[in-house]
């Protein structure tokens, strides 16, 4: 999916993650993560974010994620919401998400 503009999804509430995406032309995914559970789960959170972007066909982006202890399913949902918002699209192939 082609990112077209900066977009954000999620909140700063406990159990959530706020994801901000900016389109980029090159350089892969530049990810900046801040998490209340960074020590224990930082690598896992980063892997989930990168995996979700990959599945949605996002190759280049600047990503800022502020995590407040979100579960993996929440991280996937927020990253996807930010991607769709940035691309100006609506999910259609739900079975692939």
């Amino acid at each position: 999916m082609e990112l077209k503009k900066a977009a954000t999804a999620g909140t700063m509430e406990s159990g959530d993650v706020m994801v901000t995406l900016c389109p980029a032309q090159e350089g892969g995914v530049d990810l900046s993560l801040t998490s209340s559970v960074q020590q224990q789960f930082g690598r896992q959170i980063e892997a989930v974010i990168r995996d979700t972007l990959r599945k949605l066909g996002v190759e280049h982006a600047q990503v800022t994620a502020v995590d407040k202890g979100a579960l993996d399913c929440t991280i996937r949902a927020r990253v996807a919401a930010a991607v769709y918002r940035s691309a100006g699209e609506t999910p259609e192939r739900w079975e692939e998400l």
Partner: protein
């Protein structure tokens, strides 16, 4: 998760959980409600509908809600959002779709057609997804009988009182204003053989008022009630537990029936009074309720 919905089950409490609040969604099962209702409608701001849909989709696919019934309240179809909601939640395995603002049997039929189309698209057995209809207007109340009978997928009908009283040009008060709607919905549900679920009691700090309302709906015959705060679940469930005295009487009735059958007599009596069929039906129902409560509370 068990995908197929169950028509007849314990539904004392159906807890509303805002569909865009991941913390509340992940904690939902710990509060003990019989049904969890993830809400995509009124508790989600218009600008967050897209994010909530993705969140609920992922939660349904991933989280283990145990033996709770999982319901999702969608937006009404006329808003244009309802179909988008269905597209997201049906492939994720929702058990029951709660349709808001149901005014007619046609509303149920329209929603069912969309559900069936999406089930086919994803290779889900047609009929796997259940439905319930929330009635929230004078027109809906007057059409309650047709609504409750409009689909085999329906597990129940519910009253949504805030919109209903506004439609009536009144406000919520002591319950008198809801008596007609509750009676219509209850009779419609019973005629169709499905559950009748009462509206929320929004003043969470007024336990006395809440308990009075619960006692009233229990007396009327409702199966349960929607709740908006986990604090309301325990007192609600307590009100639905049969009293020891009633339960003893129910077992005595069943014992008298067994004895009469053993004697080959078609007539049973208890304490000198003949036991007729409705008494037996009520005794069986009370025992079934007590057993269902016991089973749920063992988990």
């Amino acid at each position: 998760m068990e995908r197929r919905f169950v028509k007849d089950r314990l539904r004392r409490s159906m807890m509303f959980v805002p569909g865009n609040n991941p913390g509340m969604i992940s904690d939902a099962r710990i509060y003990g409600a019989d049904s969890i209702m993830l809400d995509l409608e009124d508790s989600v701001a218009y600008t967050e509908k897209d994010a909530a849909r993705l969140l609920v989709h992922n939660a349904l696919k991933t989280l283990d809600f145990g033996r709770k019934e999982v319901v999702v309240r969608i937006n009404d179809l006329a808003s244009g959002l309802g179909v988008l909601d269905l597209e997201a939640i049906i492939p994720a395995g929702v058990q029951v779709v709660r349709l808001p603002k149901t005014d007619s049997a046609q509303d149920v039929a329209d929603c069912e057609a969309e559900i069936a189309r999406i089930e086919r698209k994803h290779g889900i057995p047609e009929g796997a997804t259940g439905m319930m209809a929330a009635i929230e207007s004078a027109r809906g109340v007057l059409n309650a009988q047709a609504i409750a009978a409009a689909s085999d997928r329906l597990i129940g009908v519910a009253l949504g009182a805030e919109d209903y009283v506004t439609d009536l040009k009144t406000t919520r008060a002591d319950g008198t204003e809801l008596l007609f709607a509750r009676s219509m919905i209850l009779n419609a549900a019973r005629a169709a053989g499905i559950a009748a679920l009462d509206t929320v009691y929004s003043d969470v700090n007024n336990e006395e008022g809440f308990l009075a309302e619960v006692a009233l709906i229990r007396k009327l015959g409702f199966d349960g009630k929607s709740v908006i705060n986990p604090r309301q679940i325990e007192p609600l469930h307590r009100s639905f537990v049969p009293s020891e005295k009633d339960l003893k009487k129910a077992y005595a009735v069943m014992e008298a029936i067994r004895e009469a059958n053993a004697r080959g007599s078609g007539v049973a009596s208890l304490n000198g009074k003949m036991i007729d069929k409705p008494v037996v039906t009520r005794a069986k129902r009370l025992i079934a309720l007590a057993e269902a409560v016991e089973e749920v509370e063992e988990v």
